[in-house]
Amino acid sequence: MKSEVRPDTISRGFKILSRKKNAMFTTVKAQISVSKRTYDMESTVKLYLDNDTGAVLYPVEIGSPVPGLTVTLDSDSSSSCSFPPSIPDATIDSTAMFLSIFHETIGTVRELIRKEQQRILQKGV
């Protein structure tokens, strides 16, 4: 029997919640949304971007919808994930879902970073 493989549709995006500039860097808070065929997940991120160069001031923390589960971007090519000391039954599904869209979440944050960098370098803030 030949099974039909349905493509898993994924949509992703971000929404800027606030943008604030100080003398050294611009703080950008954003909401990251990733939707798969069966569920949607939202996380938050706060970026600090150098006003002069647009460079991200690492580390960047991404807060997940699961309490205690956070992702940290250490550099352009490195990230780490922290888990809570225990994962109760109530959050197992959301933890698994969040991890299953890890790639998309990081990709969206990278896209956000690129756009904010362009904004700083081209237009000024």
Partner: protein, 154 residues
């Protein structure tokens, strides 16, 4: 010294919650690095005791070392960022030595000193409930204890 400099920096940016959070999160990179180094050294001890050698040893240690380098880089960046912010607000640099890849070992030592300074200056007394609550909240909490006859003199 470092703790004092951070206090001055926090004081200079105290009206900007984002800036305060920025300073705190940069400081946390130092404890992250120290924690990883201690964990890695313990793991190497264990691998040695277990007699793990050759390719398996290399694979395990290489992975740990890659993470350590990454955390070291993040902490070095954090020092540079704290130095810049200090300069912007008119303070002396957080750390006044060279912060580059040629001085990685020295920077590692500095990070150890920073964390140790905070550890040495930690609050050794057990924090009591009244230290963690405002005077009014504490008084209210005492008053709310039923039939205890408890009261608080102001």
């Amino acid at each position: 010294m470092y703790k004092e400099r951070i206090a001055k920096l926090m004081n200079a940016v105290k009206h900007e919650p984002d800036d305060l959070e920025f300073v705190e999160s940069r400081m946390n990179t130092f404890t992250e690095y120290m924690s990883h180094v201690a964990w890695m050294e313990t793991r190497i001890q264990r691998l040695t005791i277990e007699g793990v050698q050759g390719e398996e040893w290399r694979n395990q240690v290489e992975s740990l070392d890659k993470q350590r380098r990454s955390k070291h880089n993040v902490a070095m960046d954090a020092i540079n960022q704290l130095n810049r912010l200090s300069k912007v607000v008119g303070l002396e640099p957080f750390y006044d030595g060279p912060v580059d890849h040629e001085h990685r070992t020295e920077i590692g030592d500095v990070i150890g000193n920073i964390v140790n300074e905070y550890f040495e200056g930690r609050t050794v007394e057990q924090l009591k409930t009244e230290n963690l609550m405002s005077e009014d909240d504490f008084a209210q909490a005492v008053e709310s204890i039923p039939d205890s006859g408890a009261s608080m003199e102001k």
